[in-house]
Amino acid sequence: MVEVIHPGMYTTIQDLGRFGYRNLGIPLCGAMDRMSATLANRILNNSDEDAIMEITLMGPKLRFQEDAIIAIVGADLHPKVNDKSVEMNTMVSISKGGLLSFGNASVGTRAYIAVAGGWQTSLVLGSRSMYNGVTEASALDKGDLLALKEQSKNVHAKQSSLQLETSHFNTAKIKVNEGPEWKQLSTSLQQKILKGNYTVSPQSNRMAYRLEGVAGIKGSEIITSPVQPGTVQLTPSGDCIVLMRDAQTTGGYSRILQLSEQAICELAQKRGGATVQLVLT
């Protein structure tokens, strides 16, 4: 078992998402930065579908009540085991009683902690991704006990350390494709949207990132229609909203652009105050 001594700012268990239920209005969910999450699993020879822990800006404090092998990938939250810094992007052994803690994120926003065999929280509708109203808890809390898989101790992890390029964390250019309503916008409005320097709002979260600071852009309401992670909505009041993994399944604002899968992962590493541009590919 692993005990949550302190949950940090916002810590959840995620996997690749809950597929097959969006027609019932159940959001996809899953790791915000799927690339980092997958890499963490691959370092441990886990399956890509295994559950990982997503930690945000301020990491949790976790007490390992048994030996375990872990890997941390994503934002640099300065991980420590028993107060000694440990490396990211490679396997790390933790002995029984070990305390995993973090500093504040210096690069990026979200990091992923994989354990050999994946975190064994409850599987709900085929996924361990936490979501309010679907799983029992929507985030980890102090005192939670998380089960590990038995074979954790004898892992033949890949010795090669895998790492994402630094541009994954510091690129300001978010790659987008045209969304369903893009062609309905005037050319001058399209230009304005693509030339804008946007500021990520501090109110951005797993459901949506809000992009602010570009004046004079306006969308319209549409008859409610499907949306997905990466859909950029432009509202009549000029709010530019990028839907993320916990987004609703349908929406009523014009869908002007659509982020690529990679761009969703890169945006998920931005925090409030960051500047980004939308680049049409």
Partner: protein
């Protein structure tokens, strides 16, 4: 069957769009396309999400979206006939007693009708479940009598109880779980609309027909008990057309 336009929607999805309007006829074409494509596309397809006049097809990442887009276009063009639909009509018992209906008094006063008249207006129509969204299991229903159209509350409630039946604008709906919300609440159903313990987890799905049925507070309690013990049998019938 009317032909939709197909658009790529991100890396691995296709959006089908029909004439941009909320109507039963258009929605029937959405349902027809859904049935057809589910059969033909099989494993390539991860999920289909229908809405009023559009539908998203989400594919496995290995699938070439451009190739499958052409296949779908050809497939739908062959399907010019409007095939008959089989639809489930589900009776939803609702208790309209004030204890479950915090906004019913205000609504009947504004509409200048009696509570009985409101209940009749609300229980007479057969509603269409256009699709589910907003919350897991939340039905977007079409067919509300225009006499009952009413704007949503200016200040949303912090908590609306699961099962609450409400009116907002030209729509009526049922809250599947406790949630903040701004709809005018006129009753509550003892049925569970959404439960992750069940397969499927949602009582309703796109294309269902639905009728509300007025019940007393006593019946409400008795149905709650039966739902709990698994003895409640939901009233439903198959409608062709």
């Amino acid at each position: 069957m009317k032909q939709p336009t197909l658009k790529s929607f991100g890396d691995s999805a296709i959006l089908l769009e029909w004439e941009n309007t909320i109507s039963n006829d258009i929605h029937k074409d959405v349902l027809r396309a859904q049935t057809l494509l589910k059969d033909v596309l099989g494993d390539q397809l991860l999920e289909i999400v229908p809405a009023y006049a559009s539908m998203a097809l989400y594919f496995n990442r290995q699938v070439s979206v451009d190739k499958v887009k052409n296949e779908i276009e050809q497939l739908l063009q062959k399907e010019s006939e409007a095939t008959a639909l089989e639809r489930e009509k589900i009776k939803i018992p609702v208790c309209y007693d004030e204890a479950f209906a915090p906004d019913i008094q205000e609504l009947v006063e504004k509409k200048n009708i009696s509570i009985d008249a409101l209940i009749t207006l609300h229980t007479q129509p057969t509603y269409t479940v256009y699709f589910l969204g907003f919350l897991p299991g939340f039905p977007y229903l079409g067919g509300l009598d225009s006499k009952l159209h009413h704007p949503r509350k200016s200040t949303p409630r912090k908590k609306v109880e699961a099962g609450s039946v409400g009116i907002a604008g030209g729509q009526t709906g049922i809250y599947p779980s406790n949630s903040p919300g701004g709809w005018n609440i006129i009753g509550r159903t003892p049925l569970a609309l959404f439960s992750v313990e069940k397969q499927p987890p949602s009582l309703l799905k796109a294309g269902n027909l639905l009728q509300f049925e007025s019940i007393s507070a006593k019946e409400y309690e008795s149905i709650i008990e039966k739902v709990r013990s698994g003895d409640y049998k939901i009233k439903k019938e198959i409608i062709h057309g």
